[in-house]
């Protein structure tokens, strides 16, 4: 088989399989495979693409794959690249899930996971501060993350409502600023 669907599926399967540690890790891989090797998009397009894939909801890697797939062969192309990216994850996790379920109660595994759990909570805590720096919070905006965290944590408000409110709020603030 030597057509563009199969080629792009294969390429994104590879990218999905070798991305360790989340979305940003795949940027150099995409650059190598998609820009340098297959020349499906050029460097400037890649930069635009990263900006758009980051601003949109959803998994960064999948968004990127869909964008490139669509550019190559419209919707069928997008489907090929999206499934190519997701498939390695799906298969690997499924194998582990089936396997792990039988070993969960094993004492060695249980002890290891007792050590891992606090580490994972810390792994989620660290990007909180990194994102806070990147969001360039100041005295005027610092209350926003604090109030949203407290609403979710203490009052059980769904994060989805917080996201909607933030989008609407940002839009309204932008409009007010232009008018004044």
């Amino acid at each position: 088989m030597n057509n563009i669907y199969w080629d792009s599926f294969k390429t994104f399967f590879k990218i999905g399989m070798f991305t360790l540690g989340g979305g940003y890790a795949m940027i150099p891989l995409i650059e190598e495979e998609v820009v340098n090797r297959h020349k499906w998009i050029n460097k400037e397009e890649l930069l635009d693409l990263i900006a758009i894939a980051q601003s949109c909801p959803g998994v960064f890697a999948i968004n990127t794959a869909i964008f490139i797939g669509y550019k190559l062969r419209k919707t069928p192309g997008a489907i090929a690249t999206a499934f190519g990216t997701a498939l390695p994850s799906f298969l690997i996790i499924l194998a582990i899930a089936i396997f792990f379920h039988q070993f969960e109660d094993n004492k060695v595994i249980a002890a290891m996971f007792k050590g891992i759990r606090p580490a994972v909570v810390a792994l989620i805590a660290v990007p909180t501060f990194r994102l806070a720096q990147r969001a360039q919070l100041n005295w005027f905006t610092i209350w926003i993350p604090i109030v949203s965290a407290l609403l979710i944590w203490l009052l059980g408000v769904s994060p989805i409502w917080i996201i909607i409110a933030a989008g609407v709020g940002g839009y309204a603030y932008g409009k007010l600023k232009v008018e004044s």
């Binding site: 998994v59 996790i93 290891m112 909570v121 810390a122 926003i144 993350p145 932008g174």
Partner: protein, 191 residues
């Protein structure tokens, strides 16, 4: 019925999951643990650990795993659990597929307009809050134990938490390596 809710829930997560893998984790945690009680906080924490250590985007990894666990916990068999993980993964991707195609097709020129930019400006500080909430919600008895229940496990858990925060935050140790160190520590100290 659980399959339908799994689909709707992960479709929502895909639609509102801003801010990268960890931002999405806070949504998954809220829906699957707090809202639906499909799994416990420690089961979710294990899923995050495994999703972090295995290749592939963390959002896809955890959706696949959560779909599987939710169905198993509901008392169904393994083949149905596989169907559950396929449902969750597909539902997570679907909004991206629709949105990204729409954007490629017609909204490309709107992406840089002031209105769209101000929506993103509003979202940025909130994603920080989402992550903070996910951290707080995972600081549970299941994950850390308590000083009265098991002081040994509690203080070691706190130490591992601080070591990981310092190690990955300041010393830039690779998170996967850090998880492995903590697994060894757990094996030595809790076995």
């Amino acid at each position: 019925m659980i399959f339908l809710w799994l689909f709707i829930t992960f479709f929502e997560i895909g639609l509102f999951g801003f801010g990268g893998g960890y931002g999405m984790l806070s949504l998954i945690q809220n829906e699957t643990v707090e809202h639906w009680h499909w799994m416990t906080a420690s089961e979710f924490t294990d899923i995050v650990a495994i999703s972090q250590m295995t290749p592939g985007p963390i959002g896809i990894n955890s959706a696949t795993y959560c779909g599987y666990t939710a169905i198993i916990n509901a008392g169904y068999s393994t083949p149905l659990a596989i169907l559950g993980s396929a449902t969750a993964t597909f539902a997570l991707i679907l909004p991206s597929l629709i949105l990204m195609i729409l954007i490629s097709k017609m909204f490309m020129k709107y992406m840089n307009t002031p209105s769209v930019q101000s929506v993103f400006m509003g979202l940025r500080p909130v994603v920080v809050g989402l992550l903070a909430a996910a951290t707080l919600l995972l600081c549970t008895r299941d994950n850390f134990s308590t000083p009265s229940e098991n002081p040994w496990q509690f203080y070691i858990s706190i130490a591992l938490f601080l070591a990981t925060a310092f190690g990955t935050g300041y010393l830039k140790i690779n998170p996967i390596r850090m998880i492995c160190y903590c697994a060894i520590a757990g094996l030595l100290l809790f076995y």
